[in-house]
Amino acid sequence: MCISGDRDDARMTSTRRMPITRCYDLGPTRLAVAAGRDDLLEGFERFLGERGGLDSGACTFSITIRTGGVEPVPDDAELLYSGPLQDEGDCSFARAGQRYFMSFPGEAQMVIDPVGRGADIVISPDSPRRASGSLVPIAVEYALDLEDQQVVHAAGLALPGERGMVLVSAPSGTGKTTTALALARCGLRFAADDVMVLRRERDGIVAWGLPRALNVHRDTAAMMPWLALPPEWNRLGEQSVPRRSIAPAVVLEDRELPVARLLLLQRGDRTAIEPLGATEMLAALAADNVRYSTAGLTPLQDRRFGMLADLARQVPAWRLTLPEGLEGVGMIATHLGE
């Protein structure tokens, strides 16, 4: 069901403007996001903007964003997680019946209703930054899951020709963005630096890249002057770079392609690529992607674990060791291209 203006108006408290709706093409998932103000949509635009432009009549999942008072989670809700999120402070995640409640106390709350194919996000007027935080990717995860699509924390690069997609997996901070950009500069086509989407098809698992803006560290920019980034860095020494802006320095890949190889990236003293067992690959993927809770796996996380297991069963895996910097990346690109 799609968002109508009437529905949004009925729920608005402090905002009484006509809603602005953006619609995104996420493969079989068609996402509509409506808000009373343009700035409340910035988080989704940074995450999905390149896939915008759909007709709202075709959507499969609807999200509304409004400002207002954040209501308490129902008393009967089952707490699944409570604790800090990196750079975002205290958060809780709870389930009541078929609905999920993601809350930043006093600042924002998202109620996800997978059965109703929608989510409502309420942002405190004093905390507009919440509209661009973790609420965005979590909402997208639930929207994708309804069409049996799962996100995976990995960079994606297309092999030369029509030989499929390589996924580069590693925990945050290992250098996925740097490695992906360097491999793309060596001839692979760049799909995404951090988040890929998986879906089972008859002939195997296909992947496509979520087109979120890249967070490029100043050290990466120094190694890659061809990025031609302005010297404007945040407190983490990073800047947000729209994916489209790195073309034509590298070739972008927007299509979904069969996953042909899995790489588990690690840092070491020398460049090496060696076969990796399926169990070790799946254990690494699960540790980085499957969220557990005191109440066990949610159905979405259970499906994600299953998808990652299918990936590890079907696709050959390799352990890629690279020293700091770009040494050896050209050799790896050649190896992957052969």
């Binding site: 067992g277 399926a278 169990t279 809770s293 066990g296 674990f305 069963r313």
Partner: protein, 102 residues
């Protein structure tokens, strides 16, 4: 503490989720996030754990799959099962000798 014997019947704990693979298995304990990798022998044992079969049945199944004698298989199964129970992957469903409904 549970003593594992040939008559012990095992079951997966509710929080344990196993994915079998060509070279073993990955087990996730969903309530703690603990991940375990299992080799092909352990995977072969776990594949037969169903809340009904005794340790002796698991050992017999292992003998069929691998070139190993029953006595050695039983000892291996008991050792592996004790470890998996200790880690919280498996629980003791019952001791068949203690059944009262037989």
């Amino acid at each position: 503490m549970n003593v594992i014997t040939e008559d012990t019947v095992l079951a997966f704990r509710e929080a344990a989720s196993m994915q079998p693979l060509a070279d073993g298995a990955v087990i996730l304990l969903a309530d703690s996030g603990q991940l375990y990798t299992a080799n092909s022998t352990t995977e072969a044992i776990l594949r037969h754990v169903d809340g009904q079969r005794r340790v002796a049945d698991l050992a017999a199944a292992l003998c069929e799959e691998f070139d190993i004698g029953l006595e050695a298989a039983t000892a291996d199964v008991i050792e592996i099962i004790e470890r998996l129970v200790g880690e919280g992957v498996l629980g003791v469903a019952r001791q068949d000798g203690q059944r009262t409904d037989a």
